[in-house]
Protein backbone atom coordinates (compact mmCIF):
# COMPACT_ATOMS: atom_id res chain seq x y z
CA UNK A 1 0.00 0.00 0.00
CA UNK A 2 1.16 3.49 -0.81
CA UNK A 3 2.66 5.29 2.17
CA UNK A 4 1.15 8.57 1.10
CA UNK A 5 -1.73 9.63 -1.08
CA UNK A 6 -2.87 12.81 -2.75
CA UNK A 7 -6.35 13.96 -1.90
CA UNK A 8 -8.82 16.72 -2.58
CA UNK A 9 -10.98 17.82 0.33
CA UNK A 10 -14.33 19.42 -0.28
CA UNK A 11 -15.21 20.93 3.08
CA UNK A 12 -18.31 22.73 4.28
CA UNK A 13 -17.39 26.23 5.48
CA UNK A 14 -19.90 28.27 7.42
CA UNK A 15 -18.95 31.34 9.44
CA UNK A 16 -21.72 31.06 12.01
CA UNK A 17 -25.24 29.73 12.54
CA UNK A 18 -26.78 32.50 10.43
CA UNK A 19 -24.37 32.20 7.51
CA UNK A 20 -25.73 30.11 4.66
CA UNK A 21 -22.40 28.31 4.14
CA UNK A 22 -20.64 26.90 1.10
CA UNK A 23 -18.14 24.25 0.06
CA UNK A 24 -14.47 24.99 -0.32
CA UNK A 25 -11.98 22.68 -1.97
CA UNK A 26 -8.47 22.09 -0.67
CA UNK A 27 -5.65 20.13 -2.25
CA UNK A 28 -3.98 17.74 0.17
CA UNK A 29 -0.82 16.35 -1.41
CA UNK A 30 1.22 13.63 0.30
CA UNK A 31 -1.17 12.58 3.06
CA UNK A 32 0.39 9.76 5.07
CA UNK A 33 -1.86 6.69 5.10
CA UNK A 34 -0.94 6.15 8.73
CA UNK A 35 -2.61 9.40 9.75
CA UNK A 36 -6.00 9.44 11.35
CA UNK A 37 -8.67 11.51 9.66
CA UNK A 38 -8.41 14.21 12.30
CA UNK A 39 -4.64 14.32 12.02
CA UNK A 40 -5.09 15.03 8.34
CA UNK A 41 -7.44 17.85 9.31
CA UNK A 42 -4.75 19.13 11.69
CA UNK A 43 -2.26 19.19 8.82
CA UNK A 44 -4.71 21.15 6.71
CA UNK A 45 -5.44 23.60 9.53
CA UNK A 46 -1.75 24.05 10.23
CA UNK A 47 -1.27 25.04 6.62
CA UNK A 48 -4.31 27.35 6.66
CA UNK A 49 -3.01 29.11 9.78
CA UNK A 50 0.46 29.54 8.25
CA UNK A 51 -1.20 31.03 5.18
CA UNK A 52 -3.08 33.44 7.42
CA UNK A 53 -6.42 31.83 6.64
CA UNK A 54 -9.22 30.72 8.90
CA UNK A 55 -8.72 27.09 9.99
CA UNK A 56 -11.59 24.62 9.64
CA UNK A 57 -13.49 24.35 12.90
CA UNK A 58 -14.30 20.79 13.90
CA UNK A 59 -15.18 19.05 17.16
CA UNK A 60 -12.87 16.52 18.78
CA UNK A 61 -11.62 15.66 22.23
CA UNK A 62 -10.42 12.19 23.24
CA UNK A 63 -9.33 11.03 19.79
CA UNK A 64 -9.69 7.47 20.98
CA UNK A 65 -13.30 6.76 20.09
CA UNK A 66 -14.87 7.22 23.51
CA UNK A 67 -16.02 10.83 23.90
CA UNK A 68 -18.24 11.16 20.83
CA UNK A 69 -17.17 14.71 20.03
CA UNK A 70 -15.78 14.15 16.56
CA UNK A 71 -18.65 14.56 14.16
CA UNK A 72 -18.14 14.57 10.43
CA UNK A 73 -20.25 13.41 7.55
CA UNK A 74 -17.56 11.98 5.30
CA UNK A 75 -18.41 11.07 1.72
CA UNK A 76 -22.07 10.74 2.60
CA UNK A 77 -21.57 8.60 5.71
CA UNK A 78 -21.56 9.55 9.38
CA UNK A 79 -17.98 9.06 10.69
CA UNK A 80 -16.91 7.91 7.23
CA UNK A 81 -16.98 4.61 5.42
CA UNK A 82 -15.83 2.27 8.17
CA UNK A 83 -18.31 0.32 10.30
CA UNK A 84 -18.28 0.78 14.07
CA UNK A 85 -15.73 3.59 13.97
CA UNK A 86 -15.65 7.22 15.01
CA UNK A 87 -14.01 9.82 12.78
CA UNK A 88 -11.00 10.03 15.09
CA UNK A 89 -10.44 6.27 14.73
CA UNK A 90 -10.70 6.36 10.97
CA UNK A 91 -7.37 6.18 9.16
CA UNK A 92 -6.34 7.53 5.81
CA UNK A 93 -5.42 4.06 4.51
CA UNK A 94 -9.14 3.59 3.86
CA UNK A 95 -9.01 6.23 1.14
CA UNK A 96 -7.43 5.98 -2.25
CA UNK A 97 -4.98 8.17 -4.12
CA UNK A 98 -6.59 10.96 -6.12
CA UNK A 99 -9.89 10.72 -4.26
CA UNK A 100 -12.08 13.74 -3.48
CA UNK A 101 -13.46 13.54 0.04
CA UNK A 102 -16.57 15.54 0.87
CA UNK A 103 -16.84 16.58 4.51
CA UNK A 104 -20.07 17.99 5.91
CA UNK A 105 -21.37 18.75 9.38
CA UNK A 106 -24.20 16.73 10.93
CA UNK A 107 -27.36 18.11 9.36
CA UNK A 108 -30.48 18.38 11.48
CA UNK A 109 -32.62 21.27 12.59
CA UNK A 110 -31.97 20.11 16.17
CA UNK A 111 -28.20 20.37 15.57
CA UNK A 112 -27.58 23.89 14.25
CA UNK A 113 -24.14 24.54 12.81
CA UNK A 114 -22.04 26.72 15.09
CA UNK A 115 -19.11 27.03 12.69
CA UNK A 116 -17.91 24.94 9.74
CA UNK A 117 -18.18 21.32 10.93
CA UNK A 118 -19.09 22.08 14.53
CA UNK A 119 -22.73 21.61 15.45
CA UNK A 120 -24.60 22.33 18.65
CA UNK A 121 -25.66 19.01 20.13
CA UNK A 122 -27.17 20.36 23.34
CA UNK A 123 -30.46 18.78 22.27
CA UNK A 124 -28.93 15.56 23.56
CA UNK A 125 -28.04 17.20 26.86
CA UNK A 126 -31.63 18.32 27.23
CA UNK A 127 -32.83 14.76 26.66
CA UNK A 128 -30.45 13.48 29.32
CA UNK A 129 -31.45 16.24 31.72
CA UNK A 130 -35.08 15.23 31.26
CA UNK A 131 -34.58 11.77 32.69
CA UNK A 132 -31.29 10.11 31.87
CA UNK A 133 -30.33 9.80 35.51
CA UNK A 134 -31.32 8.06 38.72
CA UNK A 135 -32.12 9.88 41.92
CA UNK A 136 -30.19 8.60 44.93
CA UNK A 137 -29.71 10.02 48.35
CA UNK A 138 -26.17 11.00 49.02
CA UNK A 139 -24.21 9.10 51.59
CA UNK A 140 -21.91 6.14 51.47
CA UNK A 141 -21.83 4.22 48.23
CA UNK A 142 -23.75 0.97 48.69
CA UNK A 143 -21.84 -2.29 48.46
CA UNK A 144 -21.35 -3.21 44.82
CA UNK A 145 -23.13 -6.54 45.08
CA UNK A 146 -26.02 -5.51 47.28
CA UNK A 147 -28.30 -5.23 44.24
CA UNK A 148 -28.26 -8.43 42.22
CA UNK A 149 -28.47 -7.94 38.43
CA UNK A 150 -28.86 -10.84 36.02
CA UNK A 151 -25.87 -11.30 33.76
CA UNK A 152 -27.94 -11.07 30.54
CA UNK A 153 -29.55 -7.84 31.64
CA UNK A 154 -26.29 -6.37 32.84
CA UNK A 155 -24.74 -7.15 29.46
CA UNK A 156 -27.65 -5.67 27.56
CA UNK A 157 -27.60 -2.54 29.73
CA UNK A 158 -23.88 -2.28 29.17
CA UNK A 159 -24.34 -2.48 25.40
CA UNK A 160 -26.80 0.41 25.59
CA UNK A 161 -24.52 2.37 27.90
CA UNK A 162 -21.80 2.16 25.25
CA UNK A 163 -23.55 5.06 23.51
CA UNK A 164 -21.16 8.00 23.37
CA UNK A 165 -23.82 10.51 22.31
CA UNK A 166 -22.00 11.47 19.13
CA UNK A 167 -25.19 12.09 17.17
CA UNK A 168 -24.35 9.88 14.21
CA UNK A 169 -27.80 8.31 14.50
CA UNK A 170 -29.46 11.70 14.03
CA UNK A 171 -27.01 12.66 11.30
CA UNK A 172 -27.60 9.53 9.31
CA UNK A 173 -31.33 9.07 9.84
CA UNK A 174 -33.40 10.30 6.91
CA UNK A 175 -35.78 11.77 9.51
CA UNK A 176 -33.03 13.24 11.70
CA UNK A 177 -34.52 11.21 14.52
CA UNK A 178 -32.69 10.78 17.81
CA UNK A 179 -34.39 7.52 18.69
CA UNK A 180 -31.28 5.37 18.84
CA UNK A 181 -29.62 7.74 21.29
CA UNK A 182 -32.79 8.18 23.31
CA UNK A 183 -33.49 4.45 23.37
CA UNK A 184 -29.96 3.61 24.45
CA UNK A 185 -30.33 5.93 27.43
CA UNK A 186 -33.81 4.70 28.35
CA UNK A 187 -32.96 1.06 27.76
CA UNK A 188 -29.81 1.17 29.82
CA UNK A 189 -31.64 2.38 32.92
CA UNK A 190 -34.84 0.40 32.32
CA UNK A 191 -32.86 -2.83 32.48
CA UNK A 192 -31.33 -2.13 35.86
CA UNK A 193 -32.92 -2.15 39.31
CA UNK A 194 -31.49 1.32 39.98
CA UNK A 195 -33.58 2.68 37.13
CA UNK A 196 -36.82 1.10 38.31
CA UNK A 197 -38.29 3.86 40.56
CA UNK A 198 -38.29 6.52 37.83
CA UNK A 199 -38.89 4.13 34.99
CA UNK A 200 -42.23 5.49 33.77
CA UNK A 201 -41.70 9.22 34.10
CA UNK A 202 -38.26 8.83 32.61
CA UNK A 203 -39.43 7.52 29.26
CA UNK A 204 -42.27 10.04 29.03
CA UNK A 205 -40.11 13.03 29.87
CA UNK A 206 -37.22 12.00 27.68
CA UNK A 207 -39.48 11.49 24.66
CA UNK A 208 -41.02 14.91 25.26
CA UNK A 209 -37.55 16.45 25.37
CA UNK A 210 -36.62 14.61 22.18
CA UNK A 211 -39.65 15.94 20.34
CA UNK A 212 -39.26 19.46 21.68
CA UNK A 213 -35.72 19.57 20.34
CA UNK A 214 -37.15 19.19 16.83
CA UNK A 215 -35.70 15.74 16.25
CA UNK A 216 -37.67 13.61 13.81
CA UNK A 217 -39.73 10.51 14.27
CA UNK A 218 -38.29 7.04 13.72
CA UNK A 219 -39.50 5.09 10.70
CA UNK A 220 -37.39 2.01 11.37
CA UNK A 221 -35.10 2.22 8.36
CA UNK A 222 -32.29 0.82 10.51
CA UNK A 223 -29.74 3.31 9.15
CA UNK A 224 -28.75 4.45 12.66
CA UNK A 225 -27.82 0.96 13.78
CA UNK A 226 -25.71 0.48 10.66
CA UNK A 227 -23.79 3.73 11.17
CA UNK A 228 -23.54 3.84 14.99
CA UNK A 229 -19.84 3.79 15.93
CA UNK A 230 -20.75 1.75 19.00
CA UNK A 231 -23.00 -0.56 16.95
CA UNK A 232 -25.97 -0.09 19.23
CA UNK A 233 -28.89 -2.23 18.15
CA UNK A 234 -32.33 -0.91 17.21
CA UNK A 235 -33.74 -3.57 19.52
CA UNK A 236 -33.21 -0.84 22.13
CA UNK A 237 -35.68 1.30 20.18
CA UNK A 238 -38.16 -1.56 20.44
CA UNK A 239 -37.57 -1.60 24.19
CA UNK A 240 -38.08 2.16 24.33
CA UNK A 241 -41.40 1.74 22.51
CA UNK A 242 -42.36 -1.00 24.95
CA UNK A 243 -41.46 1.22 27.88
CA UNK A 244 -43.50 4.03 26.37
CA UNK A 245 -46.57 1.86 25.83
CA UNK A 246 -46.26 0.53 29.34
CA UNK A 247 -45.92 3.98 30.86
CA UNK A 248 -48.63 5.48 28.64
CA UNK A 249 -51.16 2.80 29.51
CA UNK A 250 -50.53 2.81 33.22
CA UNK A 251 -50.02 6.46 34.10
CA UNK A 252 -52.81 8.54 35.68
Amino acid sequence: MAESINLKLKIWRQRNTKDSGHFETYDMPGVSTHMSFLEMMDVLNDRLIRDGKDPVAFDHDCREGICGMCSMYINGRAHGPLKGTTTCQLHMRHFSDGETITIEPWRASAFPVIKDLVVNRSAFDKIIAAGGYISVNTGNAPDANSLPVEKVKADEAFDAAACIGCGACVATCKNASGMLFLSAKVSHLALLPQGEPERKERVMRMIDAHDEAGLGSCTNTGACEAECPKEISISHIARLNREYLRAGMSQE
Binding site: G76, K174, N175, D208, H210, S235, Y244, E252
Partner: protein, 229 residues
Protein backbone atom coordinates in the same frame (compact mmCIF):
# COMPACT_ATOMS: atom_id res chain seq x y z
CA UNK B 1 -59.42 9.09 28.24
CA UNK B 2 -58.06 12.36 26.89
CA UNK B 3 -54.96 11.86 28.98
CA UNK B 4 -54.39 8.40 27.57
CA UNK B 5 -54.94 9.68 24.03
CA UNK B 6 -52.19 12.18 24.69
CA UNK B 7 -49.65 9.41 24.33
CA UNK B 8 -50.45 9.17 20.63
CA UNK B 9 -49.26 12.71 19.95
CA UNK B 10 -45.58 12.23 20.61
CA UNK B 11 -43.18 11.05 17.94
CA UNK B 12 -43.37 7.54 19.37
CA UNK B 13 -47.14 7.77 19.73
CA UNK B 14 -47.58 8.69 16.08
CA UNK B 15 -45.61 5.63 15.11
CA UNK B 16 -47.84 3.54 17.33
CA UNK B 17 -50.84 4.80 15.36
CA UNK B 18 -49.02 3.97 12.14
CA UNK B 19 -48.18 0.48 13.38
CA UNK B 20 -51.60 -0.37 14.75
CA UNK B 21 -53.54 0.87 11.72
CA UNK B 22 -50.96 -0.78 9.48
CA UNK B 23 -51.34 -4.18 11.12
CA UNK B 24 -55.10 -3.85 11.02
CA UNK B 25 -54.89 -3.18 7.28
CA UNK B 26 -52.54 -6.17 6.91
CA UNK B 27 -55.21 -8.33 8.48
CA UNK B 28 -57.85 -6.91 6.18
CA UNK B 29 -55.73 -7.71 3.13
CA UNK B 30 -55.70 -11.38 4.12
CA UNK B 31 -59.46 -11.39 4.37
CA UNK B 32 -59.74 -9.63 1.02
CA UNK B 33 -57.40 -12.16 -0.56
CA UNK B 34 -59.47 -15.01 0.80
CA UNK B 35 -62.61 -13.49 -0.73
CA UNK B 36 -60.90 -13.01 -4.09
CA UNK B 37 -59.70 -16.59 -4.19
CA UNK B 38 -63.35 -17.59 -4.52
CA UNK B 39 -63.10 -16.22 -8.06
CA UNK B 40 -61.05 -19.30 -8.90
CA UNK B 41 -63.84 -21.69 -7.95
CA UNK B 42 -64.95 -22.09 -11.61
CA UNK B 43 -68.56 -21.77 -10.64
CA UNK B 44 -69.33 -18.81 -12.82
CA UNK B 45 -68.53 -16.43 -9.96
CA UNK B 46 -71.34 -17.68 -7.74
CA UNK B 47 -69.35 -18.22 -4.55
CA UNK B 48 -67.58 -14.87 -4.95
CA UNK B 49 -70.82 -12.98 -5.46
CA UNK B 50 -72.47 -14.71 -2.55
CA UNK B 51 -69.54 -13.95 -0.29
CA UNK B 52 -69.80 -10.30 -1.30
CA UNK B 53 -73.50 -10.26 -0.52
CA UNK B 54 -72.89 -11.96 2.80
CA UNK B 55 -70.41 -9.25 3.77
CA UNK B 56 -72.83 -6.48 2.81
CA UNK B 57 -75.66 -8.10 4.71
CA UNK B 58 -73.73 -8.64 7.92
CA UNK B 59 -74.06 -5.88 10.49
CA UNK B 60 -70.78 -6.74 12.22
CA UNK B 61 -68.92 -6.65 8.93
CA UNK B 62 -70.52 -3.32 8.10
CA UNK B 63 -69.27 -1.91 11.39
CA UNK B 64 -65.81 -3.28 10.79
CA UNK B 65 -65.96 -1.64 7.38
CA UNK B 66 -66.26 1.75 9.04
CA UNK B 67 -63.27 0.90 11.19
CA UNK B 68 -61.48 -0.10 8.02
CA UNK B 69 -62.06 3.20 6.28
CA UNK B 70 -61.20 4.98 9.51
CA UNK B 71 -58.00 2.95 9.71
CA UNK B 72 -57.03 3.77 6.15
CA UNK B 73 -57.67 7.48 6.69
CA UNK B 74 -55.73 7.53 9.96
CA UNK B 75 -52.87 5.63 8.37
CA UNK B 76 -52.74 8.17 5.55
CA UNK B 77 -53.08 11.30 7.70
CA UNK B 78 -50.52 10.06 10.18
CA UNK B 79 -48.20 9.05 7.35
CA UNK B 80 -48.49 12.49 5.78
CA UNK B 81 -47.85 14.16 9.11
CA UNK B 82 -44.82 11.99 9.81
CA UNK B 83 -43.39 12.63 6.36
CA UNK B 84 -43.93 16.35 6.74
CA UNK B 85 -42.49 16.70 10.23
CA UNK B 86 -39.57 14.43 9.44
CA UNK B 87 -38.71 16.57 6.43
CA UNK B 88 -38.74 19.58 8.72
CA UNK B 89 -36.27 17.88 11.06
CA UNK B 90 -33.62 18.12 8.32
CA UNK B 91 -34.01 21.46 6.55
CA UNK B 92 -30.58 21.40 4.88
CA UNK B 93 -29.84 18.24 2.93
CA UNK B 94 -26.45 16.61 2.53
CA UNK B 95 -24.58 17.31 -0.67
CA UNK B 96 -23.31 13.73 -0.63
CA UNK B 97 -25.37 11.07 1.09
CA UNK B 98 -24.82 7.34 0.68
CA UNK B 99 -28.02 6.11 2.23
CA UNK B 100 -27.98 2.91 0.22
CA UNK B 101 -25.03 1.82 2.36
CA UNK B 102 -27.12 1.65 5.51
CA UNK B 103 -30.76 1.13 4.59
CA UNK B 104 -33.00 -0.10 1.79
CA UNK B 105 -34.69 2.22 -0.68
CA UNK B 106 -38.12 0.93 0.23
CA UNK B 107 -37.60 1.48 3.94
CA UNK B 108 -36.76 5.12 3.22
CA UNK B 109 -39.60 5.75 0.80
CA UNK B 110 -42.68 4.46 2.57
CA UNK B 111 -44.38 7.80 1.99
CA UNK B 112 -43.80 7.57 -1.74
CA UNK B 113 -44.88 3.93 -2.13
CA UNK B 114 -47.81 4.66 0.17
CA UNK B 115 -48.91 7.56 -2.05
CA UNK B 116 -48.84 5.42 -5.17
CA UNK B 117 -50.81 2.73 -3.36
CA UNK B 118 -53.31 5.41 -2.37
CA UNK B 119 -53.80 6.41 -6.01
CA UNK B 120 -54.31 2.76 -6.83
CA UNK B 121 -56.83 2.48 -4.01
CA UNK B 122 -58.88 5.34 -5.44
CA UNK B 123 -58.94 3.70 -8.87
CA UNK B 124 -59.75 0.36 -7.30
CA UNK B 125 -62.66 1.72 -5.26
CA UNK B 126 -63.92 3.63 -8.26
CA UNK B 127 -64.02 0.44 -10.35
CA UNK B 128 -65.57 -1.95 -7.86
CA UNK B 129 -66.69 -0.42 -4.59
CA UNK B 130 -68.43 2.73 -5.80
CA UNK B 131 -70.61 1.18 -8.55
CA UNK B 132 -71.67 -1.76 -6.43
CA UNK B 133 -71.94 -0.40 -2.95
CA UNK B 134 -72.91 3.19 -3.58
CA UNK B 135 -74.53 3.34 -7.01
CA UNK B 136 -76.13 -0.08 -6.58
CA UNK B 137 -75.06 -1.60 -9.90
CA UNK B 138 -77.09 -4.58 -11.05
CA UNK B 139 -74.26 -6.54 -12.67
CA UNK B 140 -72.50 -9.35 -10.86
CA UNK B 141 -69.30 -8.37 -9.09
CA UNK B 142 -67.45 -11.38 -10.45
CA UNK B 143 -68.46 -10.40 -13.97
CA UNK B 144 -67.16 -6.87 -13.44
CA UNK B 145 -63.84 -8.18 -12.17
CA UNK B 146 -63.42 -10.51 -15.12
CA UNK B 147 -64.29 -7.84 -17.67
CA UNK B 148 -62.20 -5.07 -16.06
CA UNK B 149 -59.07 -7.17 -16.41
CA UNK B 150 -59.61 -7.70 -20.12
CA UNK B 151 -57.92 -4.33 -20.56
CA UNK B 152 -54.17 -4.82 -20.68
CA UNK B 153 -53.54 -1.34 -19.28
CA UNK B 154 -55.79 -1.93 -16.32
CA UNK B 155 -54.38 -5.37 -15.59
CA UNK B 156 -50.80 -4.13 -15.69
CA UNK B 157 -51.63 -1.20 -13.43
CA UNK B 158 -52.92 -3.74 -10.94
CA UNK B 159 -49.85 -5.92 -11.10
CA UNK B 160 -47.53 -2.92 -10.70
CA UNK B 161 -49.54 -1.62 -7.75
CA UNK B 162 -49.55 -5.02 -6.06
CA UNK B 163 -45.79 -5.42 -6.39
CA UNK B 164 -45.36 -1.97 -4.87
CA UNK B 165 -47.77 -2.91 -2.10
CA UNK B 166 -45.67 -5.98 -1.44
CA UNK B 167 -42.56 -3.84 -1.03
CA UNK B 168 -44.46 -1.45 1.24
CA UNK B 169 -45.61 -4.37 3.37
CA UNK B 170 -42.20 -5.98 3.46
CA UNK B 171 -40.88 -2.99 5.39
CA UNK B 172 -44.16 -2.09 7.08
CA UNK B 173 -44.85 -5.47 8.63
CA UNK B 174 -41.60 -5.82 10.53
CA UNK B 175 -41.54 -2.09 11.20
CA UNK B 176 -44.92 -2.33 12.94
CA UNK B 177 -43.62 -5.05 15.23
CA UNK B 178 -40.55 -3.00 16.00
CA UNK B 179 -42.71 0.01 16.83
CA UNK B 180 -45.00 -1.99 19.09
CA UNK B 181 -41.92 -3.17 20.91
CA UNK B 182 -42.33 -6.80 19.87
CA UNK B 183 -38.83 -7.07 18.64
CA UNK B 184 -35.67 -8.27 20.26
CA UNK B 185 -32.62 -10.33 19.37
CA UNK B 186 -34.67 -13.50 19.68
CA UNK B 187 -37.54 -12.70 17.33
CA UNK B 188 -36.05 -10.09 15.01
CA UNK B 189 -35.14 -12.46 12.20
CA UNK B 190 -38.33 -14.52 12.59
CA UNK B 191 -40.46 -11.38 12.29
CA UNK B 192 -38.52 -10.19 9.25
CA UNK B 193 -38.98 -13.55 7.55
CA UNK B 194 -42.67 -13.69 8.41
CA UNK B 195 -43.08 -10.15 7.04
CA UNK B 196 -41.37 -11.03 3.78
CA UNK B 197 -43.47 -14.18 3.36
CA UNK B 198 -46.61 -12.22 4.12
CA UNK B 199 -45.63 -9.49 1.62
CA UNK B 200 -44.94 -12.12 -1.04
CA UNK B 201 -48.26 -13.82 -0.40
CA UNK B 202 -50.14 -10.54 -0.77
CA UNK B 203 -48.21 -9.28 -3.79
CA UNK B 204 -48.29 -12.55 -5.71
CA UNK B 205 -51.78 -13.50 -4.54
CA UNK B 206 -53.39 -10.26 -5.67
CA UNK B 207 -51.30 -10.01 -8.85
CA UNK B 208 -52.55 -13.41 -9.89
CA UNK B 209 -56.07 -12.06 -10.53
CA UNK B 210 -55.24 -9.52 -13.25
CA UNK B 211 -52.82 -11.99 -14.83
CA UNK B 212 -55.12 -15.01 -14.76
CA UNK B 213 -58.14 -13.04 -15.87
CA UNK B 214 -56.38 -11.08 -18.57
CA UNK B 215 -54.84 -14.13 -20.20
CA UNK B 216 -57.80 -16.31 -19.30
CA UNK B 217 -55.43 -18.86 -17.79
CA UNK B 218 -57.22 -22.14 -17.15
CA UNK B 219 -60.37 -20.49 -18.45
CA UNK B 220 -61.03 -18.48 -15.29
CA UNK B 221 -62.26 -15.44 -17.19
CA UNK B 222 -64.40 -17.21 -19.76
CA UNK B 223 -65.94 -19.29 -17.01
CA UNK B 224 -67.35 -16.13 -15.47
CA UNK B 225 -67.89 -14.03 -18.59
CA UNK B 226 -69.93 -16.76 -20.27
CA UNK B 227 -72.15 -17.37 -17.28
CA UNK B 228 -75.23 -15.28 -16.92
CA UNK B 229 -76.48 -15.16 -13.42
Amino acid sequence: MIASLRMFYSSVGRKLVMAMTGLFLCFFLLEHLYGNLLLYKMDGGKAFNEYGEFLVGNIIIRTVEFALFGGIILHIIDGLYLTYSNKKARPVRYAVNQQSKNSTWFSRNMGLTGSVIFIFLVVHLRTFFVPHRILGAESSMAHDVASAFQSGMYASLYVAAMLLLGAHLNHGFQSAFQTLGWNNHKYASAIKTAGTLYALLIALGFSSFPIFFHFDIMGVASNILHTTL
